[in-house]
């Protein structure tokens, strides 16, 4: 809102479509969560994610909804899973050290199919690492952090606007697929302030989990229709069922029978993999005639966009494929982006966590070059252009 605007005018502007605001990434993520219906938050302070927890501590009581700062991150995600099973749209927010602590209960949310959103604002690691610096070192952890084989859905914003949009998408995806979704931001995007046009309330699609429509006596908690996604009854609504982190049968009771275990895992993976196309979000910049393609995500994709612009001014035909979904890895979009190019460069703030994936799907289409940086600072457009001599 512009300075000097009266409150009444501000309210009028709010009701009109496309309210412009200057927001920080963490704020936009929080607003996105609220817009998507988040009505439970549990968290623990950690740089650079604390602004989300603080924002929620201001907003949740206003709405009469629970906010709690727990004793650690393990407790925070535990509370979120409990709240989710009791019918709430729950979120927690953390950074690397806290995300590491959350891994066991993240797997629990996965196996009991509790929808929720976990925010990890990446900072330098491992361990305490570089708490106030940017990094992108948790990309593979977000995919494989919890033990046992499992699917994972991970979204990664590059701008403040995407913080809002992808957070709404994260909640909708969690609710639709009955699964935890990871919102993987980085310190730069989380602390960046940009102008954002927020959609009007009625313009947002908000998805709620499917709840049982049958009477409690007929409810078989993990029995599914063709969607492979079981309906979730809120605890305390008359559907007295069992929830366990043990592999369970359709009734929710523990099982070790091979003929029940195998279909259980098949459904857990299948409910996500059959909808890969809805989940793999990417954006393309100047890709049509690009000779060299940049593949990037998060704050690094911002440098790539500048590099594309600068490069083209200097006669280098660059294009960018920005990944908004990191997992499931947007294989088809990456394959298409690699085909017929002179080379692909994958800039990222780690030792090659996504470039390894790009190489995996490349299959001889082009030359894939990793561009890693791990000094706590961003990759600059000039650094990216500096690598062009090697490929041009």
């Amino acid at each position: 809102m512009a300075a000097g605007t009266s409150k009444a005018a501000g309210k009028a502007a709010k009701s009109r479509k496309g309210q412009a605001r200057l927001l920080q990434g963490n704020e936009a993520a929080s607003l996105g969560a609220l817009a998507a219906g988040c009505n439970f938050f549990a968290g623990y302070p950690i740089t650079p994610a604390s602004e989300i927890t603080e924002y929620m501590s201001r907003e949740m009581p206003v709405r009469g909804n629970p906010f709690i700062q727990m004793e650690d991150e393990i407790a925070s995600i535990g509370a979120c899973v409990g709240a989710s099973l009791a019918g709430r749209k729950a979120m927690t927010a953390t950074s690397g050290p806290g995300f590491s602590l959350m891994q066991e209960n993240l797997g629990y949310a996965m196996i009991v199919e509790a929808p929720m959103v976990v925010v990890n604002v990446m900072r330098g690691g491992p361990s305490t690492g570089l708490p106030t610096n940017v990094a992108q070192g948790d990309v593979q952890q977000a995919r494989w952090g919890t033990h046992g084989d499992h699917p994972a859905i991970v979204f990664c914003p590059s701008s403040v606007a995407e913080c809002f949009e992808l957070m709404v998408k994260a909640f909708n995806t969690a609710e639709r697929f009955r699964t935890p979704v990871i919102f993987l931001a980085d310190e730069t995007v989380a602390h960046l302030r940009e102008k954002v046009i927020l959609p009007a309330e009625g313009d947002l699609e908000v998805i709620d989990r499917r709840r049982p429509t049958v009477p409690p006596d007929w409810y078989v908690p993990y029995k599914t229709d063709g969607s492979l996604i079981p309906r979730l009854a809120d605890l305390g609504e008359g559907y007295r069922y069992h929830v366990t982190g043990l592999v369970h049968d359709e009734r929710g009771f523990p099982t070790r029978r091979a003929d029940e275990v195998e279909p259980f895992y098949a459904r857990l993976f299948g409910k996500i993999s059959r909808h890969f196309n809805d989940l793999m979000l990417t954006k393309q910049y100047s890709m049509d005639d690009a000779e060299i393609v940049l593949i990037s995500y998060g704050c690094t994709a911002r440098s790539c966009r500048a590099a594309v612009r600068l490069g083209r001014e200097r006669g280098i035909k660059l294009g960018l494929l920005q990944l908004l979904t990191l997992w499931p890895f947007p294989r088809q979009a990456v394959e298409a982006a690699l085909a017929g190019r002179k080379a692909a460069l994958v800039p990222e703030l780690n030792m090659g966590q996504i470039s390894r994936e790009v190489k995996r799907v490349n299959d001889g289409r082009t030359q894939v070059i990793r561009h890693s940086k791990m000094d706590g600072t961003m990759i600059t457009p000039e650094e990216i252009l500096g690598r062009m001599r090697e490929v041009a």
């Binding site: 650690d72 407790a75 899973v81 409990g82 609504e237 982190g245």
Partner: protein, 280 residues
């Protein structure tokens, strides 16, 4: 088995969950299960409004038999899940069943903070002095000098007093009983479940399979009977000298006081936040 007891079992245990239960013959957890459902029946609670939450270990397998919403969570973290359930739906009666290792080792931090916050939850902590399910390793309540599969030469650490710990941490209600003192256990559970605020019942229960065998404490019956000698009612306990207290423990209510719950004090924040926002 009386007719009343039969009807309690029929009403409160799941009909589609197969018995016998998973516990060793002679384990106290079956007695606790009976005591819990009697207390729930006696309190007149609505099955649809009760949620049982557990962690991992022998005690973790208790909720699955009860015909309520039951959540078998991760090791040590049951109270965190219960916190989320209770805050999401404050009208629910949320009861948490944990073991001694579950509640005071891996979950010790959650236990003291749940007590400090005075969440309106009931925590039943089954204390068998060992990790039964994993084979008899020492827990925070294993006595100094006792044998365990990870203390083959005798345990080198002093033990936690669970009840004293939770009293100090701020629980509204704390009681200790044993699976031998079943009538008292029924009463303690009833009181804890009815209590507004964080209620703790420490239930001593023998693990003859692991702890008893390693420490040559005899059969399950002998271990059960030993509670009769060791347990001293609170009024008598206060009169005992330190020499007489050796090898014994107090049973009964250790703390019972009124304190605002987390949800009650949080409503103050809600009111203030809404008033401030209204003023603009």
């Amino acid at each position: 088995m009386t007719a009343v007891h039969r009807s309690v079992v029929y009403d409160w245990l799941r009909h589609d969950k197969k018995f016998p239960h998973v516990w060793c013959p002679g384990c106290g957890l079956g007695i606790l299960l009976g005591s819990l459902v009697r207390s729930l029946a006696q309190g007149g609670y609505d099955k649809n409004q009760v949620v049982l939450v557990s962690g991992i270990g022998c005690s973790g397998r208790l909720p699955v038999y009860v015909d309520v919403g039951s959540v078998h969570t991760t090791h040590g973290r049951a109270l965190t899940f219960a916190t989320g359930i209770k805050l999401a739906k404050p009208e629910l009666k949320v009861i948490v069943v944990m073991g001694d290792g579950d509640a005071t080792a891996i979950g010790g931090n959650h236990l003291i903070h749940a007590a400090r916050r005075n969440l309106d939850l009931t925590a039943i902590i089954v204390n068998n002095l060992t990790y039964g399910m994993t084979g008899g390793q020492y827990s925070p309540t294993t006595p100094l000098g006792a044998k365990a599969t990870t203390a083959p030469y005798g345990h080198s650490e002093p033990s936690f007093d669970i009840s004293a710990l939770t009293v100090t941490a701020g629980a509204s209600f704390v009681a200790r009983s044993t699976v031998y003192h079943v009538t008292q256990l029924d009463q303690m559970l009833s009181q804890a479940i009815a209590k507004k605020g964080f209620g703790v019942v420490e239930v001593l229960s023998p693990c003859h399979t692991n702890y008893g065998r390693q420490n040559r404490l005899g059969s399950q019956v002998e271990m059960m009977k030993s509670y009769k000698k060791q347990a001293v009612r609170m009024d008598r306990w206060d009169k005992l000298g330190s020499a007489e207290r050796e090898g014994r423990f107090a049973i009964g209510v250790l703390a019972d006081h009124e304190r605002p719950t987390f949800w009650e004090t949080y409503q103050g924040s809600v009111d203030r936040a809404q008033a401030i926002r209204k003023e603009g």
